[in-house]
Symmetry: C3
Subunit: 331 residues, 3 copies
Amino acid sequence: MKRFLDLADFTREEILDLLALAQSLQDVPQPRALAGRNLGLLFFNPSLRTLASFQAGMARLGGSSFVITPGQGTWQLETRLNAVMNGGAAEHIREAIPVLASYCDALGVRAFAEGRNLDLDLGESLFRTIDALCDKPLVNLESAVNHPCQALADWRTLDETGVPNRGKFVLSWVYHPRPLPLAVPAATLHMAAMRGMEVVVLRPPGFALPPAIMEKARRAAAAAGGTVTETDDRTAALAGAHVLYAKEWGTTTYYGDVEADSRLRAELGHWCVRERWFDGAAPDAKLMHCLPVRRNVAVADEVLDGPRAVVKREAFNRLVVQMAVLHRMLA
Amino acid sequence: MKRFLDLADFTREEILDLLALAQSLQDVPQPRALAGRNLGLLFFNPSLRTLASFQAGMARLGGSSFVITPGQGTWQLETRLNAVMNGGAAEHIREAIPVLASYCDALGVRAFAEGRNLDLDLGESLFRTIDALCDKPLVNLESAVNHPCQALADWRTLDETGVPNRGKFVLSWVYHPRPLPLAVPAATLHMAAMRGMEVVVLRPPGFALPPAIMEKARRAAAAAGGTVTETDDRTAALAGAHVLYAKEWGTTTYYGDVEADSRLRAELGHWCVRERWFDGAAPDAKLMHCLPVRRNVAVADEVLDGPRAVVKREAFNRLVVQMAVLHRMLA
Amino acid sequence: MKRFLDLADFTREEILDLLALAQSLQDVPQPRALAGRNLGLLFFNPSLRTLASFQAGMARLGGSSFVITPGQGTWQLETRLNAVMNGGAAEHIREAIPVLASYCDALGVRAFAEGRNLDLDLGESLFRTIDALCDKPLVNLESAVNHPCQALADWRTLDETGVPNRGKFVLSWVYHPRPLPLAVPAATLHMAAMRGMEVVVLRPPGFALPPAIMEKARRAAAAAGGTVTETDDRTAALAGAHVLYAKEWGTTTYYGDVEADSRLRAELGHWCVRERWFDGAAPDAKLMHCLPVRRNVAVADEVLDGPRAVVKREAFNRLVVQMAVLHRMLA
């Protein structure tokens, strides 16, 4: 495996193979599998889980890693092609990516959406550039509209917690003070569709996921025997749900317009998940979230501290599935 | 050992055992003892010695480590229970601590005193929360009123430099432009008491250590055959002293009141250790300090660059004793 | 080898031996050569290549490393002797350097020029202090007027790309919005002279390299059978050139005077390397640069993206030659 950029690049069987490898590495640790192998990690954006789990994962497999964080010990990097670099950025990714790739055996890069132009972000313009510049195995640590490591960890979490393959998976918009990127909603939507679930996207007006993301998920659902629908009716959405996957994202109607986004979300503070949201759900319905989660803003304490929440297991599964990805790439 | 939070949690014999293990690891290195073991390090506050010595110590025992620094590549973490998280912090420690713990075999956390409410800080309210959230071995890298790694390193330094168990140990307040926490004075006071020394706390008016800290030390001294007294008379305190342990801390009379603290310390610039302070001390009396030390503000060059100063040995002993702690926890 | 501070500290034969060791480690990896060895890395200034390549290099040889970055997770360090430390710096290098050295088997330090007093910078006053404080092997990761790791990597790059030992090497000043230090131009000039090349320093008025640097290079050239001259005539300089080494640096006529420097460079924006610069050069003349490079400010895209540019190979060679240095120091 040379690239881990998007679950959609793999067949359902390949994903199931990866999940089986993840389980196998849990059952029988391979502490020397990646001896002598080195992973470079480049973070254009902050991280907790990703940083810790990739460094720990490499170490658990006997390998090593280094971290480069532009703006934190490393200068800012320019990403625009043909830029006249007389501003704050001292180095272009056209040099930085190949150079870092030359130091390691695989490179992981986190580069959030720019959040200005929806088409550019949907097209993964930045990550495609990074992809083209990297001649080593490359892992997407979250790009403009994808987060395959999170999606794979979520898939494993659904399996572990006994959520049926044909179960009802509700991806719900929740409140956040600011617009967040579409990477996790897009990736988890695709994952649930690919798993063959009955997927419902629940979101208030102005926050519909872009047609390109919905269509891609519908195609995956069709292939796997599932469905993808969308609504702003919370009661209908959650009726019989096995999973409520809470996630914050910015307006897509006025993408990149922070003021319009702010006006839209001003009245949406009640989109904070509470226990009563589950009234019509399946009895043991789960609450999932990729973390970080703002308590009592996106999800209430009563839910996060109750038995429905499997958010910490999701986060642990980041480590587990990423070790499988690294093993497949480097062992 | 599942916790290393406070020397007071251990018997004197257990501490001596740890110190013996530390020596044994120096005499006969065990470069594979922690092979495959991973230490997570979470720094809410800056660090030089702690960061470097824990990473180096794990490596010397064949293990690995990762570092998470909220505000430096990782977002800010919320620590208040039941907070409505609509401010600067993106994640709560109720998620972050268990998640990080799930990635590693032991977790070290540095979380200084909040410095607002003395009772909360004395009660270690934050670290108790962290303790309850962590299901892996946990090391205190400095909490509100404790720093057991420093205290253990100091104990070893006393042993190495031939300071008698019954010797006179003077913990002296020294000047600093701002109020610093009570963690090191409290921890080293307890250590010297537990070692059975004649301990004197020398401090100007307004900077007495809180009764709870003094009482805890007196109990330890009583058990070990030593004493703990306090004074603001420098000449009396240093008469016959074997060790002057210099440390900066904030006013306890007006705890958390930065302006009152500033007024109190405005006249105390002469509390900078000079060679003449040792006029009545034992001939080879030592100067100890946990570092970082502000030269010519807390301690003069003439002392730090002279033969009394064992501050660099103290710092080296951080590595030595922490390797024993890690070995006891993880080998 | 206890010190790697300046290529001038070594004979030409010793450098050739290091380069041969570098090649040998590429041909036959030694993934356990530095097992159990730990490298401390102290960065007073930002880094991308140096940080990543030293961490990766230690890992590839089976060793480990830690990173300390004052101002990024570690407090600021004071460097002035006899300072009264009542300002922003919490710790002096007189403590920090020996303490960090005590934790590791070798220490690397990056400390750029202060850029105020040319004589102090030329005298390497700060790095000499660091040198005296460090009782472990020490690597210069870039000091006031030196960067031996870069120079050694450049030497290897010249060999690899078939540039003749007696070839013409043009070190050319190029534009940058701000004055940069003299470390790389001084180090690469010395390297090319030591290699025996026909070296020409091309720079606009006000940016001549200091006599001490030129004289040192001329002595190295004389010993190796090469020459060192300087000019502001670009056409003459580049006639028949085998290598154009582009580098930014600040005015030496008004060293440390940012306003004077700004006025001088205001008219020098055309010192951005373009393909036409090579009109009179050798047909396959190379473009070298230590990186980071500001595209279309210091060097145009058309050159960096063309076949002349060997800047990524230079950067990769940092890893290769540094592994030889570490091996020589620690194996």
